[in-house]
Symmetry: C2
Subunit: 229 residues, 2 copies
Amino acid sequence: MENRCENCIIRQFNSLRALNKDDLKKVSDSKISRKIKKGEALFVEGQKLDGVFCVRNGVSKLSKLSANGKEQIVKLTNIGEIMGQRSVIAEDFTNLSATAINDMEVCFIPKEIISNTLNTNPNFSLEVLRHLAHDLKEADDVIVNMSQKTVKQRLAEAFIYLKKNYGEDENGFLTLTLSRDDYANIIGAATESLIRMISDFKKKGLIKTEGKKIGVVEIDRLQELVDGF
Amino acid sequence: MENRCENCIIRQFNSLRALNKDDLKKVSDSKISRKIKKGEALFVEGQKLDGVFCVRNGVSKLSKLSANGKEQIVKLTNIGEIMGQRSVIAEDFTNLSATAINDMEVCFIPKEIISNTLNTNPNFSLEVLRHLAHDLKEADDVIVNMSQKTVKQRLAEAFIYLKKNYGEDENGFLTLTLSRDDYANIIGAATESLIRMISDFKKKGLIKTEGKKIGVVEIDRLQELVDGF
DNA sequence: TCTAAAACATGATAATTGTCACTTTTTACA
DNA sequence: TGTAAAAAGTGACAATTATCATGTTTTAGA
């Protein structure tokens, strides 16, 4: 009984906060906890989802394959986030794949519970609306960044984002460790270009590396880069 | 009395279709019709909106200025679309500017009416959710296109989109006439590059031009370009 | 712990796209 | 309807970024 939604603080960070005791009980009774290993997929592009995932722990990437076989990472998830909302709401196939970047714990909530609650609890609908609205705004920002910023600026921005969003360890390395490939797919560049740029940033003292780990050294200078010197 | 929402077919294309007679009356009583001239702004980035706009006629661009002063067009609106939903729902500043591309007729609906209806009519909330979900999916697609496709491919895609979405006149020219600048800002390229590419497409017989007007000649070959030959 | 596969890295080169400077054409409106 | 401003267009060139080839290091798992 330890894993009841009623006792889960995570829900304060997502739309489930709008649920009353009754609704919450229903969700809790029907949810299924799952562990996802690093590299495993939660769902893939084009799939029908019969529920949403609530992220208790770990980080996943939401990505899309383009015709030429390249992956574009559209978003990294945060703890507390609900995944799969869009396609459950639109009763649509998923437009993105979700893959665990590190080991994850998620709760799966069947779509019937979600739609029922949407139909009966206007507060919940409003919360979901707000979250979608937020996602949409962020997506717009990504569009602008992709088309108006150079690869170098996008990389600098990514480091700042990763530091602010996921933090760093006691030695100043980013908590979230990404492969070079993932970095390349976030900023939309060739892996080789990305690697060169990391070397460059390191040479300039903006970041430090230790194997896969990367640490932000001069966040202000990175920000200057983003703003265009 | 001719301009009552009750008699407006446009609403079948947007979330207002979920309104019952009562709700619709309230909307209709409080809405204000407005004409917007080509080039005029409906709202600008960073503004607080106290309502949404329902597009009766004309097309507008939703765009964002980047730090370097360049404009990125994120979306073109369609007839029937509701604009400003996101920021009214999130009770947030607009993240985009809306500018009329040709003369427009819009209805302004005060935000109180919208929020009230959201609070009381779950069907309306669901409809709005579906529309936001759709917008979000489209935004994801744009992100992938921006980062994975070449400027040439994005231009080819834009022509196909404009033809399918806004149609063409009796002479085979696109109904929606955009400036070269707007084209450049849609596909995220320098205006000069865009102009060169248009010349190139024309030389290859893919499109035809007559002043500002552009006509799609070989849609299949444009599609081949998009798909990567 | 050995080994193949995956990830990381670097050089050389090419393709794409942007920038700057300028001319020509079109458009708006005084 | 004349004219200034805006938009369209072109050339030369530079910067950015991708591609290909190849070598090195790291990692996972038999």
